[in-house]
C-alpha cells in the first residue's frame, strides 16, 4: 500500500466508524418502532426499507415518508436520524477536505506522482540537480531537442517557473535537497534509463555530494558538475567525475580562442550554442595593452592567459592584500588599488591607449559602470563584461547595442556563467566528439580557421548550425554496416548525398572522423568508411534527418550508391536470391 492511500485510510477511520454506528442505530430504530400501513394495519419497516429511508435522509435528499406515512413515534425517531446522520456526514466531509489541504498530505501526493512519472520513463533521460539559471538553460536546450530530463531543486519557488515555461517535453520535478541520497534515488538515479547526472546547484559542496552519490549508486552513468573552486574540482575529478566545468576557466579558454583568431572564436560559438538561438557576430581584437578590473578568481584566470600571450596588462582591484601578493611575484605589470569605476583610476591605468578592458568584478553595477566610464574616454576599446546575475542581461545587451551603433566593427563580449556552463555540459553529453574537434582546431593556424568559418557559413547561412555524430555500428547505422559486411565500398560522399535526390548534395560538412583512436580532421569525400568509425557532421537539422535514412535504411543507401532496389523483408530476399541463381543456371545451360 502506498503512502497516500494509507494516509487517507488512517485519517478516515474515525469518520467511517461514526457513520457506521450512526447508520446502524438509526436503521435498527426504524425497524423496531411499529407503524401503520395505508389500510391502518400494524406494520413494521423491514431492514431494506429502513436502510433506504435512512440513506436518503442522511444525505439530505429526503424523498419523504416512504412507503407509508409515518406515525408520530416514527417521526420522533426520524428527527433523531436526521440530526445524527447529517452531522456525521458533515464531520466526515470536513475530515476529507482537511486532509486534502494538509501540507504533509499534499507533499505525499506530489511525491507519489513524481515517483510514478519516473517509473513511467522509458526513454533515456538526464537528471538535473539545481534549477537555477544554469539548470534552467540546461532543461531548455535539452528538451528543445526532445531529450527527457528530470529536475531536483531545493527551492519550490524556482520549480514553479518550470510549469510556466512551455517546454517541448514533460519534465518531472521535485522539490528537495539533492545532496540527500534518498532524494536522488527517488529522482531515478538508479533507473536503467538514466544517462547522466548534471549537478549545477549554486553550492560547490552540494555538487560534490551529488557527484559522490551518483558514482556510488550508479557507477555507469556520466556525471557533469559545476565548480568554481580548484580544490573541490580536484576532489570531484579524483573519484571519476566525468566532467567538471569551472565557468572562469572555461571563459579563459574562450578568450584564448579569441586572442588566437576571430574565426576560431566564431567556430566555437556557432558549433556549441543551443539550437534556435541567435548566432553571434564576429568580434575583432587589436594589438595593445589591456586593463583588467577585478583580480578575483575570474580576473586571475584571464591574467594568466594574457601573461602567456605576453600582453602587457594593468590590474585594478580595491583589495590591498592582493596588491602585496601581486607585487611579490611580479615583473613589469602594474597593480592599481581602486574599483575602476571612476575616470581617475582608468586614466591612471592608461585607458586612452588601451586595446582592451575587462570588467571582471563580482558586482554587476560596478562592471556596467566601469565600461560606461571607459567608453566615454576611449570609444574604441574592446570590452569584456562579466555578467553575474542573469536578470541583468537586459542592461548588458542594451549597453552592447549602444556601443555597437557608435562604433563598428563590434568590440564587445559578454561573459555569462550560465551560458558557458550550459554549453560545456551540453557538448559533453550530446556531442562529445565536438570537444575533440575544437581541441584540434585550436592547434590549427589562423588561415585554417578562416577557411573553416567560410565553409560553415556557406552551408548553414544565418541559422545556427546543428552538430551531430554518427557511429558506424549495427545499432546506429544498420544499413551501412550490413553493406560494408557485403564488402561494398562506401565513402563519405555517399553519406553526404541526398537520399531524396542522389544528384544533390546534403548541406553538411564532415568535421572529424575517429578510427581506432586516430583523429582525421575534415575527412575527404572519397575516404572509405569502415565499421566502428565515429563521424562528426555539421549542417542543418533537416540534413541530420535525411542522413539518418542513408545510415539506417538499405533502400536509401542503395539509392545513393546507385545500386538496384533490393528487397527488405526476409521472404522477398529469399525469393530474389532463388530467382537470381536460377536465371544464372539457365544462362549457363544455354551456353
Amino acid at each position: 500500500m502506498n503512502m497516500v492511500t494509507s494516509m487517507i485510510l488512517r485519517r478516515m477511520r474515525t469518520p467511517f466508524l461514526l457513520l457506521i454506528s450512526v447508520y446502524a442505530i438509526a436503521i435498527l430504530g426504524m425497524v423496531l418502532i411499529p407503524g401503520v400501513d395505508d389500510q391502518g394495519n400494524a406494520w413494521r419497516m423491514s431492514f431494506f426499507h429502513a436502510f433506504y429511508f435512512v440513506s436518503f435522509t442522511a444525505t439530505t435528499i429526503g424523498f419523504g415518508e416512504i412507503p407509508y406515512a409515518l406515525t408520530d413515534a416514527q417521526r420522533l425517531w426520524a428527527l433523531v436520524t436526521v440530526y445524527s446522520t447529517v452531522i456525521a456526514w458533515f464531520y466526515a466531509l470536513g475530515k476529507i477536505l482537511g486532509l486534502i489541504q494538509d501540507k504533509a498530505f499534499k507533499q505525499a501526493v506530489t511525491q507519489h506522482r513524481f515517483k510514478r512519472d519516473i517509473q513511467k520513463l522509458h526513454q533515456p533521460f538526464y537528471l538535473i540537480c539545481g534549477f537555477g539559471e544554469t539548470g534552467n538553460a540546461m532543461v531548455n536546450s535539452l528538451t528543445e531537442e526532445h531529450y527527457r530530463t528530470v529536475v531536483v531543486e531545493y527551492d519550490e519557488e524556482n520549480l514553479n517557473r518550470l510549469n510556466l515555461n512551455e517546454l517541448k517535453e514533460y519534465v518531472p520535478s521535485i522539490a528537495g535537497d539533492a545532496s540527500e541520497p534518498h532524494i536522488l534515488e527517488l529522482a531515478g538515479i538508479r533507473h536503467p534509463m538514466c544517462q547522466g547526472v548534471i549537478a549545477v546547484t549554486a553550492s560547490d559542496e552540494t555538487n560534490l555530494k551529488i557527484a559522490i552519490t551518483s558514482k556510488l549508486l550508479h557507477p555507469d552513468i556520466k556525471v557533469a558538475c559545476r565548480s568554481e573552486f580548484k580544490d573541490i574540482e580536484e576532489n570531484m575529478l579524483s573519484f571519476g567525475t566525468d566532467q567538471v566545468v569551472n565557468p572562469y576557466e572555461t571563459f579563459a579558454e574562450i578568450f584564448g580562442m579569441l586572442t588566437h583568431s576571430t574565426s576560431l572564436h566564431l567556430i566555437n560559438d556557432w558549433l556549441t550554442g543551443a539550437p534556435n538561438t541567435r548566432l553571434s557576430d564576429p568580434v575583432y581584437l587589436t594589438e595593445g595593452p589591456w586593463i583588467l578590473c577585478g583580480y578575483g578568481r575570474f580576473g586571475r584566470e584571464l591574467y594568466k592567459h594574457l601573461q602567456s600571450k605576453n600582453i602587457s596588462t594593468v590590474v585594478i582591484d580595491p583589495n590591498k592584500s592582493l596588491k602585496e601578493e601581486f607585487d611579490l611575484n611580479e615583473d613589469e605589470n602594474r597593480f592599481i588599488i581602486g574599483t575602476g569605476t571612476d575616470q581617475k583610476t582608468l586614466m591612471q591605468a592608461g585607458i586612452q591607449s588601451a586595446a582592451g578592458l575587462i570588467a571582471g568584478s563580482d558586482n554587476d553595477s560596478n562592471n556596467l559602470s566601469i565600461i560606461m566610464t571607459a567608453l566615454e574616454i576611449n570609444e574604441k576599446v574592446f570590452c569584456i563584461a562579466r555578467q553575474n546575475k542573469w536578470n541583468n542581461h537586459i542592461l548588458y545587451h542594451s549597453l552592447e547595442d549602444q556601443h555597437k551603433s557608435a562604433d563598428n566593427p563590434i568590440n564587445f563580449l559578454i561573459m555569462h556563467p550560465r551560458e558557458i556552463i550550459a554549453r560545456k555540459i551540453r557538448t559533453f553529453f550530446l556531442t562529445p566528439l565536438l570537444d575533440r574537434f575544437l581541441g584540434i582546431a585550436r592547434q590549427q593556424s589562423c588561415e585554417w580557421s578562416n577557411i573553416m568559418i567560410s565553409r560553415l557559413s556557406a552551408i548553414v547561412g544565418d541559422s545556427r548550425p546543428h552538430v551531430w555524430s554518427a557511429t558506424i555500428n549495427k545499432k546506429t547505422a544498420p544499413a551501412v554496416t550490413q553493406s560494408l559486411r557485403y564488402g561494398r565500398i562506401i565513402t563519405i560522399s555517399h553519406l553526404t548525398q541526398d537520399p531524396g535526390d542522389r544528384n544533390a548534395k546534403l548541406r553538411c560538412v564532415p568535421l572529424l572522423l575517429i578510427r581506432e583512436g586516430q583523429e582525421i580532421l575534415l575527412p575527404d569525400d572519397d575516404l572509405e568508411i569502415k565499421i566502428g568509425d565515429e563521424l562528426l557532421f555539421c549542417g542543418t537539422h533537416q540534413v541530420k534527418d535525411n542522413m539518418h535514412w542513408t545510415l539506417r535504411v538499405m533502400r536509401s543507401l542503395n539509392y545513393v550508391m546507385s545500386f538496384r532496389d533490393e528487397p527488405e523483408s526476409y521472404i522477398w530476399r529469399l525469393y530474389y536470391h532463388y530467382r537470381n541463381t536460377s536465371e544464372r543456371r539457365k544462362r549457363t545451360r544455354k551456353k
Partner: protein
C-alpha cells in the same frame, strides 16, 4: 494494556460469536436464523474492517483482507434476503434461507481466520 488492541479484539470476537449465532441451526429453516442477528453481524464486521484501516504491518493487511471477505459475504447474504422478500416476493423459502446461511457460513470462516491471526499476533507480542 493497549486500549486499541482491546477494542479491536472485542469487535473481532464479537463478529465471530454473533456470526456463529446466526449461522447455527438447520440450514433451510427460517426460524433458526434471526434477521436482527444478521444486521448486527454486518455492522460489527464493518466496524472491525474500518478499525484495521491504515495499519501498514503485514498482519494488519491480512486482518483487513479477512474482514473484507467477511463483509463481502455478509452483504451478499443481505442482498439475497432483500431480493427474495422485496423484489421477487417469493418470501423466505428453504432454498433462499439455505443460500443466505451458507453465505454467512463463509463469512463465519473468514471471522475464524481473523481470530486465529489475532491470536498469532498476541503470541508473537509475548516474545
Amino acid at each position: 494494556m493497549n486500549l486499541e488492541k482491546v477494542v479491536f479484539s472485542f469487535f473481532m470476537i464479537l463478529a465471530l460469536t454473533l456470526n456463529f449465532g446466526f449461522f447455527y441451526g438447520e440450514v433451510a429453516n427460517p426460524d433458526h436464523h434471526n434477521i436482527y442477528e444478521l444486521f448486527a453481524v454486518i455492522v460489527i464486521n464493518l466496524i472491525a474492517t474500518v478499525l484495521k484501516f491504515g495499519d501498514r504491518s503485514q498482519l494488519g493487511a491480512m486482518l483487513l483482507a479477512t474482514s473484507l471477505v467477511a463483509v463481502a459475504q455478509l452483504i451478499s447474504a443481505s442482498i439475497v434476503w432483500t431480493f427474495a422478500v422485496h423484489v421477487q416476493e417469493t418470501g423466505l423459502t428453504p432454498t433462499v434461507v439455505a443460500t443466505i446461511v451458507s453465505l454467512s457460513g463463509g463469512a463465519f470462516l473468514a471471522n475464524i481466520i481473523s481470530v486465529i491471526l489475532l491470536m498469532i499476533e498476541a503470541a508473537m507480542l509475548r516474545h
